[in-house]
Symmetry: C2
Subunit: 155 residues, 2 copies
DNA sequence: TATTGTTATACTCTATAACTATA
DNA sequence: TATAGTTATAGAGTATAACAATA
């Protein structure tokens, strides 16, 4: 029997299960040779090719210098590429390479595997209920579900 | 309309809402002058005074050197104290100071405020359902609900 | 020899600010 | 002047490994 005196709160459970879910996903993508942050960028660029670095920074909630480092890494891995915009030569437009695009289905498969692992032991109905309630919580928090915030967690 | 093509999965929602919940809690404790990690340590020491550094490392899933830094910080803030064990002088036993113990009710209040903020917009019944489902997920993942894992999230 | 804690060191993620090239 | 991106630098948090004191 642990020393827990009262039942864990929803906020605490969310925080802990969220960390756990991210760890499970990180394990799934580990064979792909990319980090969680990189996976997030690849997913975003897969959906919105041609995005500028500043736009990506806004979507991620990250600084521009962080985006520079992130794209540097993806370029080194030949997964993304920068192109100077012809209309405004200050701007870098971002694209996935063919190799980067090849990762998209593998990221979806990893997400599916994570989903199975995390909801292990829940019935189909329980999964549906949980999904609905989490969407409801997200709606109440005005969160943009299109963005992965995991890496922004602070100490 | 965002570019989301399919509904967010439970794993993704958990990860994102978990980060958000942690951020909300971090805001709540910010006036207390402690970090999330420190709040976790204070909570643990409040429940299990006399714990050794190695035990704390195990509970946190952190390294011993991380615990050294963590306790150094709490000692500097006069919130925790080390005492050499008389039976085994290699061991440091950890205690909260009076000042550290004074934080316990304030941490509980912060957790309560977080809970209200995160579950805003849910009915009493929906909160109960969500709580039950999250406990079920946690049980399936063999997580120790006594420990805050947030700071272990990797990139 | 083994264990507890500590220190030294390094790597990643993050942020701020100074800098460049363009506009 | 203002903006997009870059570089330099610094501060957390994390990990590993070498070390000191004690068992």
């Amino acid at each position: 029997m642990p020393s827990q005196q009262r039942p864990a709160r929803i906020g605490f459970l969310l925080s802990q299960l969220g960390t756990h879910a991210a760890e499970v996903f990180a394990e799934q993508i580990q064979p792909l040779g990319i980090t969680l942050s990189e996976a997030g960028v690849i997913r975003i660029l897969g959906r919105a090719p041609g995005m500028t670095q500043r736009e990506l920074a806004t979507v991620l909630g990250a600084t521009q210098s962080r985006v520079v480092a992130l794209i540097d890494g993806l370029e080194r891995k030949r997964l993304a590429a920068r192109t100077r915009s012809t209309s405004d030569r200050r701007v870098q437009q971002l694209e996935l390479t063919d190799q980067g695009r090849d990762l998209l289905p593998r990221l979806r498969a990893a997400a599916e595997a994570q989903e199975q692992a995390v909801t292990k032991g829940l019935s189909r109905q329980q999964r549906a209920d949980l999904h609905e309630l989490l969407e409801l919580v997200a709606a109440g928090q005005q969160l943009d579900l299109d963005v992965h915030l995991g890496y922004r967690r602070r100490s």
